[in-house]
Each structure stands twice: as C-alpha cells, then as structure tokens.
Symmetry: C2
Subunit: 329 residues, 2 copies
C-alpha cells in the first residue's frame, strides 16, 4: 500500500469533476481509499492539486465534463494511474500520459450492451415517434385531435453502422432481429462479418436509410459526419449518435433538420454537452438524450466495482483489471 | 361486378367511422369503388344505412372507434362482406356475423413487424427513460441540473411474452438479440419454441421482470392482467401493452403505478381510447402512445392495397386475400 500524505493509512485517490459513481464509492469504500475532492476545498484547483504533489499516485476522472490537461498533470509529478469511468478517452491527452508513463484504467466493455440497447431504442423512437407520441398523449391532445402523424417502419430498413467495434457489433446483432439489412464502415473490413462493408462513410450513407454512429472520437473521426455524408444519406435519412457529439458536424446537422433536409435524429451525445442547440427542442423527429446510454443502475454497480478493483490492483502492484491496452502498446 | 344502387356502375362500399386509409383509398380508387360515408350525410346513421339496405354488399370499418352492432347490421340485409383495417376483431360481433353469413377480410399479418418493433421500443423507452430524457433535454434542464436519473438495463432481463402468436414471436425474436431470457404464456405450449412456457400468466409474471402483452382481446383475456398478476410481477416490474387496453385492469394498473407498486409501463392501447387516465401524465416511468403501433407510412400503403385487393376479390366472386379464417371455420 502506498503511504498517504494527508490521509493517514489509506491510499489517496484524487477525484476530478463529478463521476456518477463517486457517491457509491464514498459510501462503500471510504474505509479503503481516501477520496480527495478539489470541489470540497476553497483552494483553486491547481493549488489544491499541488498540495498533493508528492503523495498523489492515483486520480479518478469522469468521462465527460473535464479535460485532463498538462497543467493538471504538471501539479502531480507522483501520478502513476488515471482511472476514468468511460469507454471513450477523448478527455485524456494520451500522448502526454504515455510520455509521463502514467497508466490508464477505463470502463472497458462494461457499457457495451447498454449503449447498443439505447442506440436501437433511439432509432425506434425517431422512426416510430415514441417520444412525440408520449408528448401527444400526455398533453391531453389525443381525444380532440384523434390522429397522430404516421411513423416509419424499422423492419427491412438498410442500416449503416459507423464503427463496427464492440458497440457497433452489438447494435448490428440487435437490428438483425428486426429484419434490418446491415452495412458498416470501419477502418478495415472485418474478415468474419456477414454485413456489407463500405470503405468510406460517404458511400455507406448513400446506401443506407439510417446511420448509427458507434465509433470513438479521434482526430480522424471529428466531423466525419459532415455535409457531404448528410447529403448522401438523403432528406429521409436518420442519424443516431451514441458515440461522441463531435463526430457529427452539429451545426450542419441542426441546419438540415430544421430545413427538412434530414428525416430525423436520435442523439445521446452533443458537441458541447450539456449545451444542446435549442433549435432542436421543438422537432418531433428529433429525440434528445442527456448522454445517459451508460447510466443504468446495473452498470453503475458494475462500474463502482470496477473502479475499486482497478484501484486495489494498482495499490497492490498487481495488473490493472481493465487497462487501456492500445495506449500501453 | 355488383350493381350499385346509388352509385352508377361502381360497386358500393359503405364506410363506418374514420379509417386511416380512407383518404388514400378515395384519392386512388374512387374510379373503382363508390365509397359511401354516413359522416357526409345529414341523416342519422341508421337512417343513412337503411337507404342502402337493398344494394350495400360491402362495408369498411376501422379497427377502433366504432362497434359493428346488430342494430347496424339490421339496416343492411344485403351485406355480405365486412372489411376491417385491423388485426384485432374485438369491435366485431363474430357470432352475429357468422349467423348472418357475412364474410370478414382483415389486416392479417400486415402489422406484425411494426407492432413488435414498437413493443421493443416501448420497453427500451420505459427502462432507459428515453422519452423522459427527451423531455429533460428539450425543457432545457440539463445544463443546470446536470444529472438525469438512472435507467435500467435491458440486456439479460427475464421477459415474459403474454400470447406467443405472430406478434409475440416477433417480439421474442427481437429480444433474443438483446440477450434477454424469454418466457411466455399462451393457451397451449408451442412445440418447437425454445422459450420457457408457463401455463398461466400469474406464474409467468412471478418469474419475469417485464411482461409484454401481445395477445388479442377475448372474453378470456379481458382483465387477465389483474391485481394478482401485478403483485406477482413485483414493484420493479414493467408492463408493455401492444395488444388491447382491456386485457389489463387499467384502474389497478394506474393505482399501482401512482403508488410505486410497479416499476413502469409502456402502453400503446387503453381501455377507453382515446381517453387515457390523466394520473399517468406526470409519470416519467410511464410511456404513453396513441395506439400507433400499426401506423407507419409503409403499413398504410400496404393496408390501402390490401383493402382494395379484398374488395376487388369480393366483387369479382374470387376468394378474399386475407379472410378471417378462424371465423369461417
């Protein structure tokens, strides 16, 4: 066990931002770790962190809301582990962490099923107008207006998966059960996959009625779903995004949705979360979700456990349970 | 071709209520049939109908909103065909139609896929709070409140299908893709089905986390989902209904939802449509849908075609395309 500078005998874990699992970590594991929260201090963030410069070896950071900058890392020369509660790592500066020889533990595949489930839910919702119908009934309009607008059929639709990793594969598996025809785009063609492969997303869009964005955010995927892709998808096309907001050119997406140049969208992620373009608030063909794909009761229980297991492994000099491998290779 | 009393050379089709497909029938097929609408007349309904007593051989009626009573049938002694636009036939008096030797054409399996799709969409929506999340974002609450409530995982859940007919089978097929464990209740055990069978719905409920009601409404299924079944399902249990409203004891359902004795509900059908209990309007764990499972653009195109094909078959003395067979046997 590491000695804890300010914490008596418990290993110190600095906590940046507000991870969803922090309350359950604190209530269940305060006897095993000393969670240090800048938000509880009157000191400015960097000054607070610097006070743990010699002792803090582990840091916990949520998947969104705060970037792990070099300025933060400069305050923490003893840091050897970053535990993050997400699968996407775009809030971390990977090259900088590698240079400093800091390991990463992340959520791994913990959320795969939930994200895939929500992707399908958003697709059905947009096509069949579930949320809009719920609004129609709950506003008491049904008895007077009688007829709600027609939805669109999901069965038989040609669906394009953008990024056939673990999440994309689970989405495809689910949509097969609906009788959808699946195509995909990814960096390379997958050898054992029965779905049609398109080497670029523009061609995929031109051959599909809906795109489901399941990839991570990198320099290559930023604004990959741009004007040309949306034009190729066509004015009845639907975009579902459970990846990261910035994979889509959001300004262009909003413009086309408002002008009826896209059929609809189901979005769990946005470019500037939690800010969402207000122009979308009145559109019945747009379903907006507050980045909750991973937020089920069950996954939070699993995540709490996973964070603790990674911290215990680290402080016992054992291998991490869910190390980010691409980074260490 | 039948001679049309009031209609010149076109065969007459009486239209009761307001079938969704009527506008497309009138715009596309007014040159082939004379659609006679009581709603266009100043006469009381029965008097209007009686004026076609000798000539009207075919009648079109929607699946909801109007019952085909004996009083109506008494006005139409020449009637030989009822075309209805639904799969459920609880708005028809089947014994009375049989006694009068009136054939029925109905929607058959046209809607099976759409209804199954919506059932899964409602289940995901209730568990993962899609409509509630959409409301949360569209009301602009996200930036200030930040954290939306946790949903529940679908993958791995034990799901009970009430009525493993065509729709129930399609729902089960879809949910297999989500890694759900499927059980079912139906009148008889299906020989080639891999799912667990329960001979009564109470036992099914006791062994499941969600029930999806896919059966038709009959004397036997009316209020089949009663207090005892809801108690067996438990306070975290979810009910999705895409069958008919009256299969569920709605008063009991509402009471339990309000008091937190059920986990949630996704309802496309209600006991007294379009009236919906207002006590449900403020519940985030309840998703209400204005009986739209079958109402996709694609299915309405298919239904228009099917109605016309049945009418043409009838007036040409050919076999109906989608006769209601249970009735004629």
């Amino acid at each position: 066990m590491a000695s804890g500078g300010h914490s008596g005998e418990l290993p110190e874990v600095l906590v940046l931002g507000f991870p969803w699992v922090l309350p359950s970590l604190e209530s269940q594991f305060s006897n095993r770790f000393h969670f240090l929260k800048p938000s509880n201090s009157d000191l400015p963030l960097l000054q607070f962190l610097s006070s743990f410069a010699q002792s803090a070896r582990a840091l916990l950071i949520p998947g969104g809301g705060i970037q792990l900058t070099s300025a933060i890392l400069d305050c923490l020369p003893a840091l050897k582990l970053v535990v993050t509660t997400s699968t996407g790592l775009d809030h971390l500066d990977l090259p900088e962490l590698r240079r400093r020889e800091i390991d990463i533990a992340y959520a791994g595949n913990l959320f795969t099923q939930d994200v895939a489930d929500l992707a399908v839910g958003l697709l059905i919702d947009v096509l069949m107008k579930v949320s809009a119908g719920d609004r129609f009934v709950k506003q008491g309009i049904w008895p007077s207006k009688r007829k709600f607008s027609l939805g669109l059929k999901l069965s038989g639709k040609q669906i394009g998966i953008v990024g056939l990793g673990k999440i994309g594969t689970e989405v495809a598996k689910r949509l097969e059960g609906f009788g959808c025809r699946i195509s995909y785009n990814s960096r390379t063609k997958k050898p054992l996959v029965p779905y049609s492969y398109y080497s670029n997303v523009h061609e995929l869009a031109a051959n599909c009625e809906a795109l489901i964005i399941c990839c991570g955010l990198t320099a290559e995927t930023r604004h990959m779903i741009d004007r040309d892709v949306m034009v190729a998808l066509g004015k009845d096309g639907v975009i579902v995004n459970v990846g990261r907001g910035a994979i889509v050119d959001e300004t262009e997406l909003v413009r086309r949705l408002i002008q009826g140049e896209l059929g609809g969208a189901g979005l769990d992620v946005f470019e500037n979360e939690p800010e969402v373009p207000e122009e979308l608030f009145n559109l019945d063909n747009v379903v907006l979700s507050p980045h909750v794909a991973v937020l089920t009761t069950e996954s939070m229980v699993g995540l709490t456990q996973l964070v603790v297991e990674n911290l215990e492994a680290f402080f016992s000099n054992k291998p991490l349970v869910t190390p980010f491998e691409d980074y260490s290779s």
